[in-house]
């Protein structure tokens, strides 16, 4: 069950990144016809990241202590002391960015170049930070794996 929760966290995060890339391309080609889709996709990015945050947060608060102990005793303690600590706090900034995205996307990006530039920057930051936190998650997973390998001898 805990693995399903963790995979759901990764799934929502990855879907958020994919939706973000979709939105970036849509805004690059903003016109009157795709304004509705831009607003829908900006909401989708926000909802997916909130789901990733809540599901990941539930797992972190209830199950991560087991992995944490293994990581800290293993050869990659930095997987927790740097990557997890950094990830859990950068994720809060990511949450603020996705919450802001629909507000920025409410402007007409087809006629307003300033608004278009703003949405592109916000969604660009979301995608880049999303990829970075996804990579950090992978390092945390490997940290637990190499920790278990040492434990098993």
């Amino acid at each position: 069950m805990t693995e399903i929760i963790l995979m759901a966290h990764v799934l929502f995060g990855m879907l958020c990144i994919v939706a973000g890339v979709w939105l970036f391309v849509d805004v690059l080609h903003a016109n009157e016809a795709n304004q509705g889709r831009i607003r829908t996709m900006s909401m989708a990015v926000a909802v997916l990241m909130w789901l990733a945050y809540l599901v990941g947060g539930y797992w972190y608060l209830n199950f991560y202590y087991v992995d944490k102990a293994i990581i800290l005793k293993g050869p990659w303690p930095f997987a927790h002391t740097f990557f997890m600590e950094m990830k859990e706090h950068v994720a809060i900034m990511l949450l603020l960015l996705v919450t802001y995205l629909p507000i920025a996307a409410a402007n007409n990006t087809a006629v307003n170049k300033g608004a278009r530039k703003l949405v592109l920057w916000v969604v660009g930051l979301i995608v880049l930070i999303g990829i970075a936190t996804d990579g950090a998650g992978a390092i945390i997973g490997i940290g637990a794996k190499v920790g278990l390998l040492v434990t098993k001898g």
Partner: protein
């Protein structure tokens, strides 16, 4: 000059401010485990939940406050300057967090 809505400007500025506040709270709580961190943990059972709640509340409170400035017309800023402010806030916040855990 192209304009964007007062809520876009106000909540964008709030995003930049809150990102840096969040990073500073990380440093503050980690350097004061027995006082600040323990107090945050006591509020919701985990300091991370409290941290997230504080930042979401701060984001909306600051954004709402900035939107009420100038007799309700909100904070004034060009889109270019807002982009610069948001990018700077997020990058500086990220560097503070990463830098802190790198040297901690």
């Amino acid at each position: 000059m192209e304009t964007i809505s007062k809520y876009t400007v106000s909540f964008g500025a709030s995003l930049a401010i809150t990102s840096i506040l969040s990073a500073l709270l990380v440093v503050l709580k980690e350097l004061n485990e027995n006082s600040v961190l323990a107090w945050m943990k006591g509020l919701t059972s985990h300091h991370w939940i409290t941290h997230g709640l504080f930042m979401v509340i701060a984001f909306f409170a600051i954004g709402w406050g900035l939107a009420k400035m100038n007799n309700g017309e909100g904070l004034k800023m060009t889109p270019e300057r807002l982009v610069c402010m948001i990018a700077s806030g997020v990058v500086i916040g990220g560097l503070i967090i990463s830098g802190f855990y790198l040297v901690d």
